[in-house]
């Protein structure tokens, strides 16, 4: 059973009667425990593809299967439930809730899942340790560097033990050292926790680190290595 399967995925944005095709028939299969990069020039449809896979948006045509369950027709509430249980997200920036500390940000998802306070705290602290931020637990995001914030975001994405973490250009706002460190961390977590990572990038240095590289151009897959 594949983790993710898309069939003829199409997305057309309509802007004042102008149709902007963002995806034009993407067929992609992703297995469990993969470490996969989606690369492509700006506007090629990377963000759109990740959003559709994560159930944040609906396709114009085609289907997305998560563990062979079709998710494209679920209602908003069911999609939220699905994301809560199975998918973690990391965005380019401003991932964290500014009014919560690093620890609380990480705990948030487990709270939604209804995990008891003791276990929640323990797991949050453990994962912050894993991403190397144990002593930043009680900091608010605005007092952390961009790289540290992204690490907290990764910690939050992984702590609830999802099947899949979707990261849209997670290194785009980081310098090369911080980028490299974040990738090391993601790779580490991918191995240790067996979680599938799918991340987009247009940075060649980042592509090199991927186990599998899917290239997009003009909304179509045009390379899979």
């Amino acid at each position: 059973m594949s983790l993710i399967r898309t069939e003829g995925l199409e997305k057309i944005y309509r802007l004042d009667h102008v149709e902007v095709p963002a995806l034009r028939g993407v067929d992609l299969t992703i297995e469990g425990e993969e470490f996969l990069a989606i690369a492509g020039p700006s506007g090629s449809g990377k963000t759109t593809l990740l959003n559709l896979i994560g159930g944040l948006d609906r396709p114009t045509a085609g289907q997305v299967f998560l563990e062979e369950q079709e998710i494209t027709r679920l209602n908003k509430s069911r999609l939220a439930e699905l994301r809560l249980r199975k998918i973690g997200f990391v965005f380019q920036a401003y991932n964290l809730l500014p009014v919560l500390t690093a620890l609380e940000n990480v705990e948030y998802v487990m709270l939604l899942q209804g995990i008891a306070a003791g276990e929640r705290r323990q797991r949050a602290l453990a994962i912050l340790g894993e991403v190397g931020l144990a002593e930043y637990a009680n900091r608010f995001p605005n007092l952390m560097s961009g790289g540290q914030q992204q690490r907290v975001a990764v910690a939050r994405a992984i702590v609830a033990q999802p099947k899949l973490v979707l990261a849209d250009e997670p290194t785009a706002n980081l310098d090369s050292t911080a980028s490299s460190e974040l990738l090391d961390l993601m790779r580490q977590l991918n191995r240790d926790h067996g979680v599938t990572f799918v991340f987009s990038t247009h940075d060649p240095l980042v592509m090199e680190r991927a186990e599998r590289l899917v290239r997009l151009r003009d909304g179509k897959v045009f390379g899979d290595e």
Binding site: N51, G54, L56, D57, K76, S77, A80, E81, L82, R83, L84, R85, I87, F89, F91, Y94, N95, L96, L97, P98, V99, L100, Y108, V109, L111, L112, G114, A117, R156
Partner: protein
């Protein structure tokens, strides 16, 4: 920590992330709650005072006992003899400040060449003092001596239209209850001024015995008027029920002031209504301001809602969070406002506001001093604050709904 407590924590911190804006919003909520409490305190307090003053200056008591039907058809043909049992009951009632009998009827007054239609009121000079301030309203001459059957008290304006002077001889012609003519001469002993034009130009007070003779009443009276020590409506109604058990309801009627002066009730309603219209406008203005700030707070956090949604937060939880933020702001504001409003009201309870000299004619025509009294009670302090609180949450419904309906992709797209 339950998810409700998380929601609480998030809402609380979100309220304080823009401290300045939240404080301004809280201040405007508090301001409106305070105004609401204070206005209500003034309305209730002033109305209570107003009623007591009006009843006093009109010399009508707070509760009246008539022959049945007199209220609807006030003529000399409806009168009664107070039973000894009833008088004993009234004398023994500790709650009563006083009670007084009245004989009332129309007549024609003549002084020299001048004549005028008047209302003749017969009083018991001693008992009257326990119920109305007539003795204190004498501006020239003297109040009636208990045994003075010749004396008459005349209103200031009536005296003028009769072109009479104190000590002058006054002839009264009436129709008796038998349909015959009644006539007698009196001497003007005193001149009174109640401040109510309609009374000062129409009333003549005589001893009740002379009046009974004038109308061929025998021992009959037109009414008994009663005054309580603590004239709350509850006490009045209680006394009314007790009285109805003493008398024959087929023959007598017992009326509290809202029943025998319905026009006063109307006036108070109208006065409250204009007060409430002013408050409603104020509330709408403030509500609009609060709506604006909450909407702004929601719109500028759109991206954050996108993140919350992507993490699997249910839209209804976001809805709840915004409502909770509004509730917190309104709760702090309404509490502060209730305290402030009660404080100001408590001061005015002690120090009534004097507005004499301003445009208060409508009050003075009722014989009311232009003093503003306040009254404070739990209800007066709490209900207006609850209204503001409820309104605050109601207003937040729309922004909260907007926040809950945000599409995650669009939200993440902003900024």
């Amino acid at each position: 920590m339950s998810s409700l407590r998380l929601l609480m924590k998030l809402a609380w911190r979100n309220v304080w992330r823009n401290r300045r804006r939240s404080l301004i919003t809280i201040a405007s909520v508090a301001f409106s709650a305070a105004i609401l409490v204070f206005t209500e305190a003034l309305l209730v307090g002033s109305h209570e005072q107003m009623v007591l003053q009006v009843l006093d200056t009109h010399g009508v008591g707070q509760l009246q006992i008539h022959a049945r039907g007199y209220q609807d058809d006030p003529t000399i043909f409806r009168s009664f003899v107070p039973s000894a049992k009833l008088l004993r009951f009234l004398k023994g009632d500790r709650e009563l400040r006083g009670f007084a009998p009245r004989v009332q009827g129309e007549g024609l007054a003549e002084v020299g060449q001048e004549s005028k239609g008047v209302m003749v009121v017969g009083i018991d000079p001693e008992l009257e003092q326990g119920v109305t301030p007539l003795a204190a309203e004498i501006v020239t001459g003297d109040y009636l001596e208990p045994n003075d059957l010749q004396g008459a008290l005349v209103g200031e304006r009536l005296l003028k239209s009769l072109k009479a002077k104190i000590g002058a001889s006054l002839a009264l012609v009436t129709q008796t209850r038998r349909g015959t003519l009644g006539a007698a001469r009196f001497q003007i002993r005193g001149i009174f001024r109640t401040g109510v034009p309609a009374l000062d130009e129409n009333l003549i007070y005589l001893n009740i015995k002379s009046t009974q003779r004038l109308f061929a009443f025998g021992d009959r009276v037109t009414m008994l008027i009663l005054k309580l020590r603590d004239p709350t409506l509850a006490k009045l109604n209680h006394l009314k029920r007790a009285l109805l058990a003493q008398v024959n309801p087929q023959k007598l009627e017992v009326l509290t002031w809202p029943e025998f002066m319905p026009e006063l009730v109307q006036f108070l309603r109208f006065d409250s209504a204009s007060g409430y219209v002013f408050l409603l406008i104020l509330l709408l203005v403030i509500a609009f301001g609060v709506l604006n700030t909450i909407l702004m707070a929601v719109l500028e956090r759109t991206r954050e809602f996108g993140v919350l949604l992507s993490l699997g937060t249910q839209p209804r939880r976001i809805f709840g969070m915004i409502l909770l933020e509004a509730l917190l702001i309104s709760l702090i504001g309404a509490t502060a406002g209730a305290l402030l409003g009660s404080g100001v009201s408590a001061y005015v309870v002690q120090h009534p506001i004097n507005l004499s000299g301003s445009s208060m004619e409508s009050f003075e025509s009722w014989g009311i001093k232009p003093l503003f009294y306040a009254k404070l009670s739990w209800g007066i302090a709490v209900y207006p604050a609850l209204i503001v609180l409820g309104l605050g949450v109601l207003i937040a419904l729309w922004p909260a709904l907007r926040a809950a309906r945000i599409e995650p992709v669009e939200a993440l797209h902003t900024r």
